[in-house]
Every structure is written in structure tokens, then in C-alpha cells.
Symmetry: C2
Subunit: 336 residues, 2 copies
């Protein structure tokens, strides 16, 4: 029943056609040079004619490797993870590896399951900013090897980690405001329990130590446009001249809200964002922000993964990524 074209050609078919054994075909397909040139050619010809390609599943079973890595992210609609996924994917592709994705939809209890599942069908897994507790992570990590962690670290030093230094980035933004002459500064927070919000707060503690002349206040906010927008009144009345906002999206909401209230940026108030999203440069005014070098992050994640796949003796450093300032129109000296 039309199964003719459906049956896929296997190594046996080309072996038969070339009049050699399975083994020889296998050797030729793998570039084993110990095969007699004329035989090799005959095999190549047969393979080409039958359009034979080795079945990856059979290969994987025999070799014990799949040339595939898994990547589990908390939310594929988050631009940061999209970007990491993309960069890991193209870096891996350059080495002939494919990427299997798993989205935990921000439910932390799914992470371990997805990661383990992924690990069984892949040669390694990249765990992106897992939400699980440190204890769970410590327990899970060894079972996932080779594993590359992004934005988390483990005690057991066998796992390479790539972490973005969010705290340092916000210190730089604060310092930028100070240099412009600001002394009264406010931080509009992100989600309270968010790890990256906590890192920013830690960075700010350091910041006020470095600049004792600064008066810093903290205003509750969020990570959404609406959260920024709704904080407009609180921000407008807080007395600060420079506002560090959790991220670009919230900063845009704030920008919008301030503009509706007739407060001019940067003349009346300086605003900074965080992340340098694609549209941060296109707000009016353009948003001063801290850019995370995500492209490097993805390709380095793959590099670390490859090191651990190929040589299990590989080093397991923690790589730090330093956000850098992107100064645009939303910051200026305070009104005299």
C-alpha cells in the first residue's frame, strides 16, 4: 500500500547494492580511511544513488551520543531567553549539534523533570535561570552532567556557570547619575522575590557605600510596562532627581506616565532602564540603560558545554558577564 516510497533506505540496502558488508558501508560513511579506495568509491556511489543517509537514532544508540543538547528555560516568551536560545542554537549548529527546547512556563517544580527528561535524550543540558531552590539545584545538578548553568551557581564546583552581574550593572547606572550631579536617587524595584531584583538591591547597597553623599530611596514597582506606569505618581512625588528603574519595559511605562503628567525627561527627571531591549533606543527620549552582552553569553555557554562533552576533565569556571552602560537621552544633569 504505497509503502514503496515510505520505506527508508538502510545501511543494508547500500551494502547489497555495492556488494559489500554493512560494516564496510559504515566505515566509508564515517570516513574511515582504512577502506580500499575503489571499494570506498563503489560504496559512495551506491549511497548517493539510493540517497542513503545514516539513521541518527541507530547511530545514537550505538555510539551513546545524540549530538543534541537540551536547553530548559523558564519562559520562552521572555526576550532574554529567546536570545540565549538563539545564540546557543547557532553556536551549537556550527559544531553539528542540534538543540532541543523545553519551557517550564515558570513553574519551578517542572524544571527538574524537564531537565532530566532532556538529559536522557541529549548529550548535555543548559539550564537557564532555574527558579528552583538552591537545595534542589544542588541535588539535581550532579545528575545532569554535562550541565551548563546560566544565572545560577552550585557549590559543587563541577558545573560550569555563566552569570550576569546585575548588581554591578546597577552600580554603574547609579555612578553615572552621580557623575551627572544627582544626589537624590530612587530605585523603582522589580518583582520582590525575583533573584535579579535582589541582585540589583545588593548592588545598590554597595553603591551607597561608595557614594555616601547619595540619598537613595526604594520605591516598589514591577517588571511590566503597567507597573512602571502606575508608579508615576510615587516617582513624581518622591523628591529624587534620578530614577533607576528595574528594567527597560517598566522604564518605558514610567516614561509614558511622566509625560502624561507634564514631567519632562531628562529636564525634570533622569530615568534609567536595564537590559537594553531593542526598543530602548527608540523611546523619546532614548533610554539610558545597562546592556547585557547576551550574544557572548549564548556562544560561551555552548563552548563550555562542548568542553564538557568532549573532555570530562574540563575546567568548570564561573564566567561573569558585566553589563555596560548605554548612555542615551533620558539622563542629564539635574535642574540647578
Amino acid at each position: 500500500m504505497a509503502d514503496r516510497s515510505r520505506r527508508r533506505v538502510g545501511i543494508g540496502d547500500v551494502a547489497a547494492k555495492a556488494g559489500v558488508s554493512h560494516a564496510t558501508v559504515s566505515r566509508v560513511m564515517n570516513g574511515n580511511t582504512t577502506v580500499n579506495a575503489s571499494i570506498a568509491q563503489r560504496v559512495q556511489a551506491a549511497a548517493a544513488e539510493l540517497k542513503y543517509k545514516p539513521n541518527p537514532v541507530g547511530r545514537s544508540l550505538a555510539l551513546g551520543k545524540t549530538e543534541t543538547i537540551g536547553i530548559v528555560v523558564p519562559d520562552l516568551s521572555n526576550p532574554t531567553f529567546q536570545s540565549i536560545l538563539r545564540d546557543v542554537s547557532i553556536a551549537a549548529a556550527r559544531d553539528g549539534y542540534r538543540v532541543l527546547i523545553a519551557d517550564s512556563s515558570e513553574v519551578s517544580s517542572e524544571e527538574a523533570i524537564l531537565a532530566s527528561e532532556a538529559r536522557r535524550r541529549c548529550d548535555g543540558v543548559v539550564l537557564c535561570a532555574p527558579r528552583m531552590s538552591q537545595a534542589e539545584l544542588e541535588e539535581l545538578a550532579p545528575t545532569l552532567h554535562p550541565l551548563v548553568l546560566i544565572n545560577r551557581t552550585t557549590e559543587a564546583s563541577s558545573t560550569p556557570s555563566l552569570v550576569v552581574d546585575y548588581g554591578h550593572g546597577i552600580q554603574k547606572l547609579g555612578a553615572h547619575l552621580v557623575e551627572l550631579g544627582h544626589r537624590k536617587i530612587a530605585y523603582l524595584t522589580g518583582p520582590e522575590r525575583s533573584a535579579s531584583n535582589v541582585q540589583r538591591l545588593r548592588g545598590l547597597e554597595k553603591f551607597v557605600q561608595d557614594y555616601p553623599e547619595v540619598e537613595l530611596q526604594v520605591i516598589p514597582g514591577g517588571n511590566t510596562y503597567d507597573a512602571g506606569n502606575e508608579a508615576s505618581d510615587a516617582v513624581a512625588s518622591c523628591g529624587a532627581t534620578g530614577i533607576l528603574v528595574f528594567n527597560d519595559v517598566a522604564a518605558m511605562g514610567l516614561l509614558h506616565g511622566l509625560s502624561e503628567r507634564g514631567i519632562r525627561v531628562p529636564e525634570d527627571l533622569s530615568i534609567t532602564g536595564y537590559d537594553d531591549m531593542p526598543f530602548a533606543r527608540y523611546t523619546m527620549p532614548g533610554l539610558t540603560t545597562a546592556a547585557v552582552p547576551i550574544a557572548q553569553l549564548g556562544s560561551l555557554a555552548w563552548r563550555r558545554m562542548r568542553e564538557h562533552i568532549t573532555q570530562s576533565t574540563a575546567e568548570s569556571p564561573t564566567d561573569h558577564f558585566e553589563p555596560h552602560l548605554e548612555i542615551r537621552g533620558s539622563t542629564a544633569p539635574p535642574k540647578a
Copy 2:
């Protein structure tokens, strides 16, 4: 050498521990009810104790299926494809399937290779807006079965397709401007050779037939913020009162450029975008645009794929997706 913990537990280990054969363990793991309850329990216990999970590669080889689908996209940094990827991925995950990604980096000659490669390790592939010629597509499609096409169709009707009706969307935007009272309208084009630009132009042909009173002109543009921005002068001096822009990003660039020239939107000029990107609602003013129902697209793509994986007799309809108007502040009646 430390291989102790590395050796993964196989079906044999649990068979030994439970004092039964491989086959019985397999039956239990697959929920085969013909197994004696007490034996089944013994096996479950042994499996649990050893933390045994069936090896997916072995399973795949035996069953001839991988519970994985491939998706090949032209560019993973394009928000549209990110969104499709995400939605396909979560829909597939609900049925226990995983997604393997391949990014052709917009080089059309890679598409066939990546798709074929993906098809060999997966149970099916979703080909997203392939850039290859129609002839190539017609030749490739049958070899990829089960295949789901997005934004392309094939003659051979065995391939399910999902296409977004870009032409119809721009007709709706045009009609909206006409209803507001605009008669002189301009279309700021996208990339000249882009298929979706061509579809918009076709839609506009129909549009001017439907509204003979409209004077439509076409201005060369692009799909980037800068392209929109650079078209500001051409747009300002073209005499039209309503501008249909290729997409939201270019529309934002145009918005910015017009604002710098003191041209007010929508008082002096009405502007529409296309795509309804996340930030389209947050420009000042909010951008009237056409929204493509992408979430439905991704999950329907998976549904079609599943139908073809499970029953090869499945229907292969072409599903059409109709963009809908998202009316915001950037459009208004023209100046009297």
C-alpha cells in the same frame, strides 16, 4: 575509574533486581495491564529504587518514533518566529512531544538540508516561511512527510499549510482609514522582494478596486526602524493624509521622524503599522495596527502535525489566518 555513578541503569538492572525478564519490565513500564499485579508492583519498586527511566534512544529505535518534532525557521531573532516556536513548543509538550530547532539564518539553500536532517531524527517537521523557490519546495515537501508548512503552500495537496492572509489585513487597515474620511493614502513598503510585502501590495490592489475614490501612492520603505525614520521626509511631502506602513517597527521609526519634524499624529497625519508587536500599544500615540493571531497559529500547527503523525489518512487543509484591526490613537479623521 569513577564510572560507578556514570553507568546508567538499564532495563536489565531492574529486571535482575525484580527477578523477572527484560520483557516484563518493559511491559510494566509501558502500562501493559496483562502483568500480574504483585509482579508489577515488585517491578515498580525495583525501578523506583534504582531510579530507572527507560532510555529514549533505545525506545525510539525499537518503536521507530522519537516523540520529537523539528521546526526550521529562517531567523530565530525574528519575533514572529520566536512566537511560533514558543507556541508550537508548548502545544507539543502538552502531548509529550519535544521540539528540535534549526535556524537557517535566512540562507535559503540551508533550508532543505536542515529540514531533511531534522526529519531524520524527528517524527515530523514544521517548515516556517521557507525562503526557497516554489520548485524546490514542491520537490522537498514529499520527502519530509509528515510536514506542516507555515506561510507557504504546495501544489501536491498532501501537506497541511497555515497561511496568514497579509493582503486581507492591509485591506482592513485601508478600509479603516477610508471610514475615517481619508482619501489620499500612501503605502510605505517593506523589503521589495519580501513575499509578505508582495501580499500586502496585492491586497492593496483589491483595496483600490473596492474604494475607487481613494488615491493610493506607494513609497519605498523597509522593515526596520531606520527605514521608517528615513522615509519621514518622503511621507511628509507626499500629500497623503493616511499612511499604511509595512510593519510596526518601521511605523515607529516613522512616528519618531515625524515628531522631530513637528508633524503631529494623528492630528496632521494618520499612521498604521502591522503585526501588533508588544510595544505597538505603548508608542505615543498608540499604534493602530493589524494583529496576527500567532498563538492560534502555533497550536494549530501542532494539531495538524499530530493528526498527520498519528493517522496518515488525515485531511490536509490549508488554514487561513485573518489579521484583525487593533485601533489605537495613531489614526483619526483627517484635518477638515
